[in-house]
């Protein structure tokens, strides 16, 4: 299966968009999760609120995915 270099690069770009977004999300979540667990140990009632904070940075990977979609559309 021959793939043109251009669309191949678009594919790589799409992968990078999601992958790097996921790394960013991970880096942010790492600290948030640590803080949230600290809070939960102090007061277990913070569980729900903490869980909500944990998902906040997932926006980053979603933006990455949106970009990936736009790139895929051009392939």
């Amino acid at each position: 299966m021959a793939v043109e270099v251009g669309s191949g690069l678009l594919g790589v770009g799409a992968g990078l968009a999601i992958g790097l977004g996921a790394i960013g999300t991970g880096l942010a979540q790492q600290q948030i999760i640590a803080a949230v667990f600290g809070a939960i140990v102090e007061d277990p009632k913070q569980f729900g609120r903490g869980l909500f904070f944990i998902v906040l940075p997932e926006t980053l990977v979603i933006f990455g995915m949106v970009i990936a979609f736009m790139l895929m559309g051009r392939m």
Partner: protein, 618 residues
């Protein structure tokens, strides 16, 4: 769209002689949120006279409840007479403390025997009698353990210090039991050497008073222990009988006394003069007339009641009022923060969009059914989380409906849906974007209504409608660019002009801070792509689990159990994710993307005097 319950501020003034009656009535009505009086030229009232007696009884009853391990959760409110309670409590107290003391003695004796037997077991291994460890002025003695590796070194070191010592060791795996007797004049050096060898001392004080062969002593102790057990059982039965006999009564009395204590303390929030008291409270406006009438009647007409104006900056307490069917969704409003008195209560909106988003993301008939049953069961098991589970049950139904639309049952496709998620990703993306546009702009409209009321029409127009103009400008620029392919061509002018208008309005409305906010507006709309993303993740995991199962299934009979395991574990995992992800992301879309357009929150909860606190997960 509704605002929180309208409140009125009521001032009640009356002679102190009627204060008890007024407090009792307020407590009974359960509608008045009392405003604490801060000491100014008027002092605070002193508590009702009954408080002292009530508190002392309350302490006694609570200690009885805890001694008998009775929970008072199920108790109903009942009225008692204080004197009667007092009379009935003292014999109960005598019975209970008697039993508990006797039981404690037996338990202590039992614990001592267990301890002694443990020590004697070790001494038996060392073949040393317990009396050897009695205090002596010539000999120091040690019992304990060291690592086996340290034993020989320890011996050498001891020999260097003195030759008047006896060391007995028994090796047990890596640890050696050790008994050491030595000349007391070199006690300090020996202690040092032992510490260097990481010696762990065993406390033998419990057996020092015993004498004889350890094995014989153990036997005696066992006999003693056997005698104790039935006695302990007997005391325990008696204790349980007491708990059963007095449980309901005590729990009810506790409830009665706590409410009495609450009443007794209420005047501490009242203002007072020498002969009169006054209290301000918030009462729902619809209840004001009936409250006035009831209070006057209770006080025999000897009080004065007046309504006061609510100030603009006043922290009026918030009572949400939503139709009964939507009450559960107040959970989310509480979780974020109650609205301020003049804000909209977003509960109703969330009641509509939360299940919608959740269903859109999970969208699977099979998963929806399972989560529906799961939350139904949980709701019965954990009544405190009733609201939350109600919400999730509604959301599960929504997921089932979307499942029909997508034609998905556990990731399989038994019928052809209107949207096929694994293929029509672009359609999903567009729907998500539209949802974002609608909700964000709806938020802006709500914000506009509130701003107009508080800061005037022009400010509202600039600060809120400016954002909408900005979106239009972006759209026009995008369309024109598709035609001209050059941002600086003349045909692009209408787009740039609109952008200029938007920026001007926003600068007027929000100041320079609008510039970074511009990015966040678009990121908020794009953020709704998660509606598609979370959904896709769920479908693809389901499809993958099914593919893996099919693959294993066709590999031969030997692989069938593995296929079943893969199916069950895979779908369980995906359902767990399917509860967690869609609910959190749906909440997040509301809190972060929607609320920021019109909602600040920070309202104070309405706590009517006398009402029982509801248990909640929060």
């Amino acid at each position: 769209m509704i605002k929180p319950q309208r409140m009125s501020k009521v001032l009640v003034v009356g002679p102190k002689s009627r204060m008890g009656k007024v407090v009792a009535k307020l407590h009974e009505l359960q509608v008045a949120h009392i405003i604490e009086h801060k000491k100014d030229e008027f002092d605070l009232c002193s508590p009702l006279q009954s408080l002292e007696k009530v508190s002392s009884l309350l302490v006694q009853v609570r200690s009885l409840l805890s001694a008998l391990q009775i929970s008072n959760e199920a108790a109903v409110r009942k009225n008692f007479k204080l004197q009667e309670v007092e009379k009935q409590i003292s014999p109960i107290k005598r019975d209970v403390s008697g039993i508990i003391e006797e039981r404690k003695k037996l338990e202590d004796a039992q614990a001592e025997i267990v301890e002694q037997k443990k020590i004697l077991g070790n001494l038996a291994l060392l073949k040393v009698n317990p009396e050897s460890f009695r205090k002596s002025s010539y000999v120091v003695s040690y019992v304990g353990s060291v690592a086996v590796a340290n034993v020989s070194q320890l011996k050498e070191k001891l020999a260097k210090i003195t030759d008047k010592f006896e060391l007995i060791t028994v090796e047990q795996k890596k640890v050696a039991l050790l008994a050491l007797f030595a000349d007391s004049t070199v006690a300090a050096e020996i202690g040092k050497v032992l510490a260097e060898a990481s010696f762990t001392e065993m406390d033998v004080s419990a057996v020092r008073s015993l004498s004889g062969e350890p094995s014989g002593l153990t036997e005696q102790l066992s006999k003693k222990e056997q005698k104790l057990t039935p006695q302990l059982v007997e005391k325990n039965t008696k204790w349980k009988e007491l708990a059963e006999k007095y449980g309901v009564f005590l729990a009810e009395v506790e409830k009665f006394l706590s409410t009495e204590a609450e009443k007794g303390q209420a005047p501490l929030s009242f203002g007072s003069t020498r002969e009169a008291f006054f209290v301000r409270c918030y009462v729902p406006s619809s209840d004001v007339d009936s409250v006035n009438a009831e209070l006057s009647k209770a006080a025999g007409g000897a009080i004065h009641i007046a309504e006061e104006e609510l100030g603009e900056e006043e922290e009026t307490p918030i009572k949400l009022r939503n139709p009964k069917a939507l009450k559960s969704f107040e959970f989310f409003t509480n979780l974020y923060s109650l609205p301020k008195y003049n804000e909209f209560d977003p509960t109703m909106l969330m009641a509509f969009t939360f299940p919608l988003f959740f269903g859109f993301m999970l969208g699977d008939v099979g998963y929806g059914l399972i989560t529906l049953l799961f939350f139904y069961a949980l709701r019965r098991k954990v009544p405190a989380g009733k609201d939350f589970f109600n919400i999730l049950m509604v959301s599960s139904v929504s997921a089932i409906l979307f499942g029909f639309l997508y034609g998905e049952v556990f990731g399989y496709e038994p019928w052809h849906g209107i949207i096929i998620r694994t293929e029509d990703t672009t359609t999903l993306m567009i729907i998500s974007g539209i949802a974002g546009l609608i909700q964000v702009n709806f938020g802006l409209i709500l914000g506009f209504i509130l701003e107009r009321r508080h800061h005037g029409f022009m400010h509202a127009l600039n600060a809120k409608v400016g954002w909408m103009v900005l979106q239009v400008a972006a759209f026009v620029l995008y369309r024109l660019f598709a035609i001209y392919h050059n941002f600086f061509s003349v045909g692009m002018v209408p787009g740039w002009a609109l952008l200029g208008v938007a920026f001007f309005m926003l600068y007027k409305g929000e100041g320079l801070m609008f510039l970074p906010e511009t990015l966040s507006l678009f990121s908020h709309i794009v953020s709704y792509a998660r509606l598609m993303a979370v959904g896709l993740a769920s479908v693809f995991i389901a499809v993958m689990v099914n593919d893996l199962t099919t693959f294993l299934w066709h590999k031969g009979a030997f692989w069938v159990p593995l296929a079943i395991v893969a199916l069950v574990i895979g779908h369980t995992f995906n359902i767990a994710l399917g509860i967690l992800s869609p609910s959190l992301h749906s909440i997040r879309l509301h809190y972060v993307e929607f609320f920021t357009k019109f909602y600040k929150g920070g309202g104070k909860e309405y706590v009517p005097f006398g009402a029982e606190k509801q248990k909640s997960l929060l």
